[in-house]
């Protein structure tokens, strides 16, 4: 809620902050790149009088307001909900996706996580499969195409079924729900030294593989989604665990084990359903 209010009042807040003590002055080392076909480079910007209570994106808003006032091109970055649920915000901050904190998105990162006078390096997610749109904004539609390849269940819409008509053990439901919390942000790809999308794909495979409704297409789905993942040019997994450590939703790499299991089952043991 707090971040909501701050977002709405961001202009007001910054205006009020100007004479407040405890504000920070920072140097931003920002990746600027006009488009995917042009080489990018780092450009330094001062970020002055930044309240430690601002979110990282609000800090960038302040810097951008300044740039616009000076007639310069503002820094492009992705964002939408600004409360950690949509997965739109990205940014590789000081060498880590979503910055130095665990289990949050960049919109949930506060400037109090940094020190006064610090230099902050800000880069886009870097992956062949995520081409740069502009500056820090990358095209993550590769994820959409993987989803379209199999990340769904085919059901008839009809009358509302009875509650609990389909029994699902609680631990299984919990596990499926945990997998389903993936917001498709791409931090796992950004963190992985191989730019592998295994954590994302395995979360999307798992959320359905675990539930009864997901069974009819279970083995078809995993093969189709893995094939699309490879097609998009993501790297392969070497089980470093970087994805799990950086995922804002704490998706576990046990999902990857589950996906591998289903994939090999489909390929080697399940002729009739595959």
């Amino acid at each position: 809620m707090l971040s909501h209010i701050q977002t709405v009042n961001s202009k007001l807040t910054t205006a009020n902050c100007i004479h407040m003590s405890g504000n920070m002055n920072l140097t931003l080392k920002v990746w600027r790149q006009p488009n995917n076909d042009t080489k990018g480079s780092f450009v330094n910007y001062p970020a002055q009088n930044i309240s430690p209570d601002m979110s990282f994106l609000e800090m960038l808003d302040v810097v951008n307001e300044d740039l616009v006032k000076k007639g310069e091109d503002p820094i492009h970055f992705d964002h939408d909900c600004r409360e950690g649920i949509c997965g739109m915000c990205s940014l590789h901050i000081n060498g880590r996706p979503h910055g130095p904190k665990q289990a949050i998105t960049t919109c949930q990162l506060h400037m109090r996580s940094f020190k006064d006078d610090q230099t902050i390096t800000i880069e886009p997610w870097r992956a062949t499969a995520f081409p740069v749109i502009k500056d820090l904004a990358v095209d993550r539609s590769a994820f959409d195409r993987i989803q379209r390849a199999g990340g769904f269940i085919s059901v008839n819409t009809g009358g509302v079924p009875d509650a609990n008509a389909i029994a699902i053990p609680k631990p299984v439901a919990d596990e499926a729900f945990n997998s389903a919390t993936c917001i498709g942000c791409g931090a796992c790809v950004a963190a992985c030294k191989n730019a592998s999308a295994m954590l994302f794909v395995s979360a999307k495979v798992s959320q359905m593989a675990l539930l009864p409704q997901g069974q009819p297409e279970r083995y078809k789905r995993v093969q189709a989604m893995v094939a699309q993942m490879d097609e998009e040019g993501f790297g392969s997994c070497t089980n470093t665990g970087a994805c799990e450590a950086e995922c804002p939703k704490e998706i576990k790499i046990t999902n990857i084990a589950r996906m591998n299991r289903d994939f090999f089952t489909a390929k080697f043991f399940k002729q009739e359903e595959a």
Binding site: K29, G40, T128, A195, S196, A227, R261
Partner: protein, 257 residues
């Protein structure tokens, strides 16, 4: 058939090959270590030379050894293929990359560690495997008095050696063999070779601290009880005990013999 082809051309299929060849190499390590422990027997190398003959002449073991050579080559080739593909997946690297904040060093350096291992394997094979088959290994005769258990040994001239034999004559067991033990003892008088072997075993340690449990993750194991067990075996068994025991061999010959 085309299904198999597209299984192994997928990233997961390639990983499966890495994991299976890697684990096969791990089982070999255990057998190799048990055999090599004969080096520590103070019997003038008799047990070790018997073992070397057995390993090179027992047909099932010979078959497995060709499987092993194939595994090493396939493992290294797929490692190269995957590493190149992974490079391509991120053509522009990060200006700042804090890998150590989210993943263990070993897991990020499997390719480098594997390359050190490959160099080691080539040197190791030319030191012993090549020498034993085609090189100049000395010959030895052991005479063991079966009532007293006393063994004496004499070096044999190449002219006096036809083939490995073991027979009993008048209560004395006579063994004539290629003296790979002497070759080993001689090789490990060279300090840099000893250093190279110790370095190779350090690389093996780090490669397997990550690799052993990683292979099971690739195969799809996520059992609450067994995965911690696999991690323990990977770290303490394959990461510590086995490389230490192997590294002890050149050090033993350099410092104690």
């Amino acid at each position: 058939m085309s299904k198999l082809k597209n299984t192994f051309s997928s990233s997961l299929g390639k990983k499966l090959i890495m994991a299976l060849t890697g684990l096969f190499l791990c089982t070999f390590l255990v057998v190799h270590l048990i055999g090599n422990l004969q080096l520590f027997k103070a019997d003038g190398g008799k047990a070790f030379n018997d073992y070397a003959y057995f390993m090179t002449h027992f047909t099932p073991i010979k078959v497995v050894s060709y499987l092993l050579y194939t595994s090493i080559i396939v493992h290294a080739l797929y490692a190269l293929m995957l590493t190149l593909a992974n490079r391509k997946a991120r053509p522009v690297s990060y200006g700042a990359y804090a890998g150590s904040a989210n993943s263990p060093w070993t897991s990020r350096n499997m390719g480098i560690l594997g390359t050190v291992l490959l160099v080691f394997i080539v040197v190791h094979m030319s030191n012993f495997w090549y020498e034993y088959h085609w090189g100049k290994v000395p010959f030895v005769e052991y005479r063991t008095d079966l009532t007293t258990g006393q063994t004496t040994q004499t070096e044999l001239a190449a002219a006096d050696f036809k083939d490995y034999v073991k027979y009993i004559d008048n209560g004395v067991e006579i063994t004539r063999a290629k003296d790979l033990y002497a070759t080993t003892a001689f090789a490990f008088q060279t300090w840099w070779l000893v250093a190279l072997y110790v370095l190779g075993m350090a690389a093996l340690s780090f490669h397997l601290i990550h690799g052993f449990s990683s292979a099971f993750q690739t195969l799809g194991w996520d059992h609450k009880k067994y995965v911690p067990l696999i991690k323990m075996i990977g770290i303490w068994g394959f990461g510590v005990l086995i490389p230490l025991a192997f590294a002890a061999m050149p050090l033993y010959f350099f410092f104690c013999i």
